[in-house]
Assembly symmetry: C2
Homo-oligomer: 102 residues x 2
DNA sequence: AAAAATAACTTTGTATTGCAAAGTACTTTA
DNA sequence: TAAAGTACTTTGCAATACAAAGTTATTTTT
């Protein structure tokens, strides 16, 4: 896109995945059910979004058993943190343009 | 989605459509070729994005001939302006959460 | 004055995405 | 011990995004 509208990372530019990344930035780590409740998405939907983030190594998932139940703990990677930082910087520029016109 | 992550209008939450809306907010009106050059998208891609914005009445398109050539002039509607305003407000809240964690 | 080129789009075909229903592998409760 | 619950993953399908091809109107070559 043109100079004013730099490319927004399509892996992050999704309502669910952006929210996941931001939650992880705060929480340092979170488990599957916490994210599911917080974001009010279906299991299947969350699962596929997480896979997509994992595939590009923006998050990592650790699976283990806690109280005999499976427990997936998800956390941001350094790469993910950097990608989110770049994404928000670009998006800030978009929003600045939007606010200047008001 | 949960309380912290309000629903982002999916019609606006697209790289191209968000940029179109912001450009229109500044320019008051713009023509097809201007948007195409500014956003560096293909004709077909831009056309379908504009249709989507028009369908929900966020923009309106006026078609006429200028210098014997077709010319489509696109502008934001009041509804579109309000929708963009709400979208940016919600997105600002997302980004605030992202920046607080840094 | 046909034929080829250009402008400004729209439509079509296809690959990718997003979502929830269904499936898996257990564990807890009745 | 059958039924219900937990914590996910996989599957099927509808919606989206994109560019290639098509359309319409006009202009420039030959």
């Amino acid at each position: 896109m043109g100079t004013n509208f730099a490319e927004l990372d399509p892996v992050i530019h999704s309502r669910v995945r952006l929210a996941v990344m931001i939650l992880l930035l705060h929480a340092e780590s979170a488990d599957f059910t916490y994210l599911k409740k917080e974001l009010e998405v279906s299991d299947g939907n969350l699962s596929t979004h997480l896979r997509k983030l994992e595939k590009v190594k923006y998050i990592k998932m650790q699976k283990r058993f806690e109280n005999r139940k499976p427990k997936t703990t998800i956390s941001l990677t350094e790469k993910g943190r950097n990608a989110l930082d770049e994404y928000t910087t670009i998006l800030d520029a978009y929003l600045l343009l939007a606010s200047k016109a008001k």
